[in-house]
Amino acid sequence: MLINFKEVYFTYSPKTPYEYEALKDINLTIKEGSFTFIVGKTGCGKSTLIQQMNGLLVPSSGEVTAGEYVVSSDKKRRTKKLSNLRKEVGIVFQFSENQLFEDTVEKDVAFGPMNFGVKREEALEIAHKCIDSVGLNESYYQRSPFDLSGGNRRRVAIAGILALQPKVLILDEPTAGLDPRGSEEIMSLIQKMNKEGITIVLVSHDMNLVLRYATDVIVMNDGKIVKEATPDELFLENDEQYSLETPLIAKVVKAFHDKGVNLDTTNIRDIESLANEIVRFKK
């Protein structure tokens, strides 16, 4: 499913003293099957942007199209039942473990599909599949989500969105607060879903993740999109950094560049590929 932004503006609390323009003239296409990262400083409009993608927020002007759904500032053009869009485009919010409320894991995961009219038995079946696919097994079905560790609660929350069987999955800082092993596991899980054909949109501050996983990167600043690029263009070729943190790998590539050595950056994504590239240069 293709998501397309056309001249989207968004203002919070219009016509009050708290009026605040969070998005300005957004034109953007999220490619089908891509692993798109949205990056930028806190308060740059990333969270507002993702909420336009499943109709939680409606543009103040302009429109977002997602497949056949139209989220437009113009009421006449807007799709009547926007809530159905949320089945197609799932959002996993930051610290999503806080949204669990049922007494068993399976019931919590089945909650989403049942809201969209799926029968209880069928919803539980979907739930079981999704719990398995986030790396938890059968022994978790009947457990209370509140007895699980933080990392596992987050998996349950992700399974709860996966159970809607969305075509696009949006995640806001899915690794925040997890230890390195926990974030590694969550990220490979997300990568697996991407390989299975789900379009992934991920908001993150961790530039090492961006370099490693992204196919496309959108850089935002002050409510505007300032750059759309592939990760190697962004970190390894370009000198301008859009006040983003530099991934450590990019620092190494830069240090080589300063010495007059230009490594071939197209394949550099992680330490292993960087080492390979250095070996190639030494030969």
């Binding site: 806190t42 390195p180 092993r181 240090a255 960087l274």
Partner: protein, 270 residues
Amino acid sequence: MKIVEIENLTYSYDGKKNVLKNVSFSIESGKYISVIGHNGSGKSTLARLLIGLLRPKGGSIKAFGMEYTKENILKIRSRIGIVFQNPDNQFIGSTVQDDIAFGLENRCVPQDKMQGIIDEVSTMVDMKEYLTKEPETLSGGQKQRVAIAGVLALSPDLIIFDEATAMLDPKGKREINETIAKMRKNNPELTLISITHDIEEAFNSDEIVVLSKGEVFDIGTPAELLNKAQELTSIGLDQPFLYKLKQSLKSKGIDVSDAANIEELVNKLC
């Protein structure tokens, strides 16, 4: 001088499963210690025991030569400051200055001395211009700096950072790490314990305590621990970036193991 001495410390929340088992180590005054370990390794429990929010189920802790008895606990606590993980849940005052004053009020600091202290510590953490601001107008990094100011106001001998940067964005993390560096420069006597899972951060400290499943897995300087990197990997801990890169190069036949930073590494390779 040993500022903290922990011997055979054991703790359990439910009386069945020990979160900490026979933990023993001591901390020299003026050192910067990191405690690392994956989630659930007992790191945060250790912090709560050190500040006296929990009482040991076995073994003992001593701080400043004092046992953690009922009579001593307030005396010990008055010399230890702690900064917790969640910036929102430790902001007690309704403005920055009220929050810094909270600890001073508890310690019965005379009212006419407060403003001077508040001005001094807020300058130290670069929050002087924000004294009258309310917490909801501040970023996570700013709130954590206020928490540090609140701790500094009581001039403690030991400060514990309990994953104080875990919920912050990179800018907030950088701000806190800069503040910590500045604090150490201003007061070399200050002892710091940083509980963290940021491996790059931990390898900047004087000594690292590695916890695994409630037990001390290893203690040593960053250099000593790097020699046992394989073992760290076996308990699911990461290694610093530079070390991993050097290892990867080594396995491909390039040995640059004596490079101390990225510049040196690149210089050696070119």
